[in-house]
Amino acid sequence: MTPILEVKGVTKRFGGLTANDDISFDVAEGEILSVIGPNGAGKSTLFKLIASFLKTTSGEVRFKGRVISDLAPHKVARMGVVRTFQETTIFRSMTVRENVIVAHHLRSKASLLGFFLGTRQARADEAEFGASADDIIAFLGLQPIAEELASNLPQGHLRALSMAIGLATDPKVLLLDEPFAGMNHDETMRMVALVRRLRDERGVTVLLVEHDMPAVMKISDRIVVINFGQKIAEGTPAEIQANEKVIEAYLGSEDAAIGI
């Protein structure tokens, strides 16, 4: 079976700085794969390259065998590779429900003119988006705050909301950038369960960048480790924990963090 996402020899240079150096790995359909590495290792850059928000200097990214790294970001999103953000980016002055509804854009069959004129297709779309938004909100347990303005939400809910936005696009591959950042243990564990359900119940392939090692070890099927822009290891959580290069990269105090 061909992998759903292939990263092939991806390199990104910013002037003299090489942020990503010849990185390759595959992602199988229905897999949860984490990309880890010390600060500044180039993880976020890699995510931006995969979602085509940045153009690769060399190398390519393929989705279902098709090169996507030279497409505009909205086209990549349309194919089903959707990125959520490191900063808790949401549409701040919309309510939770409005956020999720507007994120359904990809599914609309009516044209913008159709929406302006209020054609039958446009009204059907709106009804469908509303129903689907309610469905997603229920899935993530956000009903009590559905009519709340997004700018009023605490951190944990924002994270769930940005995931709801991602889900509304009906993604095949969801790129989660630090989904557990700024969360306490309980919140993290709830989020871990949520990501699992995403995969199990909705069949979404999940790629995540994360610092929280216990969570990464718990959630991942496989892990890719990056240091100084290069891939230094790839394998199951157990293999990664035993890998010497990885231990070296996380010298000293951080050893404990990956559970060694």
Binding site: H74, A77, R78, T84, T89, S93, I101, H105, F115, T169
Partner: protein, 324 residues
């Protein structure tokens, strides 16, 4: 707000604009008010365009350019090609929309103050082009433009020839008011349809917008071209009224005013630009009696208003009734 109160509001507004105002003017004999109110209606159309660019998160200080271009398109088509005014009106809007696509494609990539600066320059570029191009007749401008002619369909006169009218001021007022109503209805519909929601998503976070699959470049250009369309028809209509156009007909100060109208009325409210234009226009005129202090008082008032009501005058409604 429920649908019935909204409908009642619209009906009251239409009644005021098309019945009460003409009646009050006829009763008081202040015929000069027609000119003032016609100007307000047209300026609010141009401001509505600026408001729409604000809605996608861009500060637009270049609407004067499109008003000027729209005016010249209408004037040239009428005097050189013999077109009817009623045909040049939409053509002026469409020409501006097309032009704004060409200009918008490169400059709409800019954000914040950089976009604002470029648009500010646009107005000056339009003025200088009007001075330099042979077709615009330089500083002498285009004068003796005929009044709007008759429109008839199957021998039925839909719009009479304005030159034969006893009171063309009233006719111009009614046309301008009708245009204003149509433009704001379209704007209201845009804002409250999916198109408006996407514009809001663009205003708040362009990256996230792209990642939910919105073609941000296309949407920006679309909103900007609608905005410029409004500017173009407002300019063309002004030309029909004054029967002349000069390079100085719309200047940087006008562009700035269009923006101020939006600020004052409220950027979060579709009818903000309409209210803002009315208040600014009348406010300036009322201060006329203060002579050389006019500009000082006017500017100070504006500064105070923006400090006290940063979200515009219509935000007062929110505080009282808690509605949007």
């Amino acid at each position: 707000m429920s649908t019935s109160t909204r409908l009642a509001g619209v009906a009251a507004f239409l009644l005021a604009v098309f019945v009460l105002v003409p009646w009050a003017i006829a009763a008081s004999g202040r015929w000069d008010f027609y000119y003032t109110l016609t100007s307000v209606a047209l300026l609010s159309i141009a401001s509505a365009g600026v408001w729409l660019t604000f809605y996608i998160g861009r500060i637009n200080i270049g609407q004067g350019a499109y008003a000027l271009v729209g005016g010249y398109v209408s004037a040239i088509l009428m005097t050189k090609a013999g077109f009817s005014f009623w045909l040049t009106l939409p053509l002026a809007g469409l020409f501006c929309a097309g032009l704004s696509v060409l200009i918008g494609l490169p400059i709409l990539r800019l954000r914040g103050v950089y976009f604002a600066m470029v648009t500010l320059v646009l107005t000056e570029v339009a003025r200088l082009s009007a001075l330099a191009l042979p077709v615009t007749n330089g500083a002498k401008g285009i004068t003796s433009i005929p009044l709007p002619g008759e429109v008839s369909l199957f021998g039925l006169t839909l719009i009479p020839d304005f030159a034969t009218l006893a009171n063309p001021k009233l006719a111009f007022y009614l046309v301008a008011a009708l245009l204003m109503v149509l433009c704001f209805a379209a704007l209201y519909r845009i804002v409250n349809s999916r198109l408006g929601h996407l514009c809001r998503s663009l205003q708040q976070n362009e990256e996230l917008s792209a990642s939910i699959g919105v073609n941000t470049a296309y949407l920006r250009v679309l909103a900007y071209s609608i905005s410029s369309f409004f500017g173009g028809i407002a300019g063309a209509m002004f030309v029909a009224i004054s029967q002349s156009i000069y390079p100085s007909s719309f200047q940087v100060a006008d562009s700035v005013n269009f923006m101020l109208n939006c600020f004052l009325g409220g950027l979060g409210y579709v009818f903000g630009p309409m209210l803002g234009t009315l208040l600014l226009y009348f406010g300036w005129d009322l201060l006329f009696t203060t002579g050389r202090f006019q500009l000082l008082i006017y500017s100070s008032l504006l500064i105070v208003l923006m400090l006290v009501l940063p979200n515009g005058i219509l935000s007062l409604l929110d505080r009282k009734g808690g509605r949007r």
